[in-house]
Symmetry: C2
Amino acid sequence: MLRLMQTSHEAVIVKKRGRGRPPKSADERNESMRRGELVKVAAQLFRQRGFHGTSTRDIAAAAGMQSGSIFYFFESKEAILHAVMQDGMTQAAVSQDAALQALGARANGVERLSALVRNHLQIMVGGESDFIPVMLYEWRLLSDAQRMEVSAQKDAYEAQWMPALQALHRTGKLKARPEIARLLIFGALNWTAQWFTEGRGLTLDELTEQALALFIGER
Amino acid sequence: MLRLMQTSHEAVIVKKRGRGRPPKSADERNESMRRGELVKVAAQLFRQRGFHGTSTRDIAAAAGMQSGSIFYFFESKEAILHAVMQDGMTQAAVSQDAALQALGARANGVERLSALVRNHLQIMVGGESDFIPVMLYEWRLLSDAQRMEVSAQKDAYEAQWMPALQALHRTGKLKARPEIARLLIFGALNWTAQWFTEGRGLTLDELTEQALALFIGER
DNA sequence: CCTACCGATCGGTAGG
DNA sequence: CCTACCGATCGGTAGG
């Protein structure tokens, strides 16, 4: 796990595939690609069957590997779950940043909340990503240290909702306290993963519209 | 599983512990009590550690039995989960009926929704029952037949919300369509199991108040 | 209900 | 990355 590198003046301990060093060689590029594929198929399986309902053999087979090979890329099954959640939160943050950027600085509270709700629903039920649903429903399986890491990403993601909610509260369109509203709203949106199927009676835009109507009485 | 009883004129097949026959003898009373205890401790463990995170040995130990003895009462681990959900829905329905009865017939939409929200939150986070949280988060682990049975109970429970939501929609206090509002509202309330801890900053009544404020702009 | 046990599966590892 | 394998755990059962 640790590699000892001898330089002219000192001994330096470098973590394999550590954060600070971008992949360089062709080998390393391939390795990180395969790793990413594993995370992706694991996310799909975890979403469909749950973490405990998916064996490491299932993941390996779905990625076209032998069962033991997974542990060349991850030190444990739990580490795969952690990676799924980290990648998912990173994706979600990127997507949310883009949605807010597209709005411009002069957007009002209704427009901002509308964009945030729409983006979050897209992630939850849009079928493009399995990461967030897994994160939400397998949360407790992480170790304390892992949970703290992902929590930090989640907190940053959710914090971006507060300006919009506070603005809406000030103008009287949101009657609940912004902090509590945030928690209840995320509940309502996250739960859609349980019942919403795209194209069955309700489109994503209509769902967004109904959610806005429920929370602030307009869209 | 089946017991053959010989009467004077015919052979009758009677299901052991079938629905139609209430327990009679002292043995049967004890047996159904022990069964109920098992369901209760299983609900606690399932809520804390999840279905897959709980072994049948854990359940047996918590009930003061040997590991094999559980299968005298239940034919499988899955059957215990099913029983947890059935008992939970039955409890929830009783509690909800009582809450609605207490209101009287002249209650308006706001009062009705308020009572329903308060009762549901009480079940979710009140600490008295572990059944509903288990039901909501381990839903997909049931077999199709089991899920259909519990679904019927759940549908009846949720149907009782519709008159209140429709009345509020008519008077313009609820802006979203009642059917979609119901789904989003249950999401918001069910999700509280993830973040709400009684007595930490927010009481159950305050939470009810905030939820009502969010959904219909008043309490 | 208990005792004693089985077969299957699972996460993970050594060595290449 | 693969092969070959291990120890632990698990749901469930036979027989009393």
